[in-house]
């Protein structure tokens, strides 16, 4: 069964350092999402790509966060510099094109970031 791949699974860094997360969506999925999930809360969308284009980054802290999906396939989320409040689970999800009124999102295993 096809899955969304993410790496690394865990990342510990010191504040002010740069970190990067990678996501490889399910093959053929045009839409890719990056979410941040703080412990005890639901996922919050950071950025959404349709192919290589950003369609929503309204909740992305653009002073320190950046995301790209250059060839419309895999994607990288970067934080520079990391702050203590960035400690969270970073989830990547993908979905296929709108079909039959359903857009099911498939989530990857996530990257657990701890900023010390």
């Amino acid at each position: 069964e096809a899955e969304v791949a993410q790496s690394p699974r865990y990342k510990i860094t010191e504040k002010s350092q740069a970190v990067a997360f990678w996501c490889d969506p399910i093959s053929g999925h045009a839409t890719l999402y990056w979410y941040r999930q703080i412990l005890g809360q639901g996922p919050e969308l950071l950025v959404q790509f349709q192919d290589e284009s950003v369609v929503d980054d309204s909740q992305l802290p653009k002073d320190r966060f950046s995301a790209e999906r250059l060839k419309g396939v895999d994607s990288t989320l970067k934080i520079q510099p990391a702050e203590l409040g960035d400690s969270a689970m970073y989830l990547c999800a993908s979905s296929s094109r709108y079909r039959d009124g359903l857009i099911e999102q498939f989530f990857g295993p996530g990257t657990r970031l701890t900023v010390l």
């Binding site: 809360q41 639901g42 996922p43 969308l45 929503d56 999800a93 009124g101 857009i103 099911e104």
Partner: protein, 113 residues
């Protein structure tokens, strides 16, 4: 922005008891999706509801969308230890297929064997 509130935040039940979580919005929603996240895992899609008053069943799980499309519920009959996890409701902003998903804060279910 629009929020969905889920209640309760936590629920502990004895195995075999029923469980219900509610998802409420102050505004009309075009759709509701439910996800389950096991401890240490990632959200997994369960179901989508789009029609007023819609009821869907998956084995012991029953999902409802309110007549006014402002609330939804997930009911589990005769809980099992495999039902442990956090259940999130979410909705897609707008009617466009590119609208982002807004998640509730979730209901965490613990089942005592």
């Amino acid at each position: 922005g629009q929020q969905v509130m889920q209640i309760p935040q936590y629920q502990h039940v004895q195995e075999g008891e029923d469980f219900t979580t509610y998802c409420n919005s102050s505004t009309t929603l075009s759709n509701i999706q439910w996800y389950k996240q096991r401890p240490g895992g990632h959200p997994v899609f369960l179901i989508q509801l789009v029609k007023s008053g819609e009821v869907k069943k998956q084995k012991r799980l029953t999902f409802q969308f309110g007549e006014a499309k402002k609330n939804s519920s997930l009911h589990i009959t005769a809980t099992q230890t495999t039902d442990v996890g956090t259940y999130f409701c979410s909705y897609r902003l707008g009617s466009s297929n590119t609208g982002k998903l807004i998640f509730g804060q979730g209901t965490t279910l613990q089942v005592k064997p």
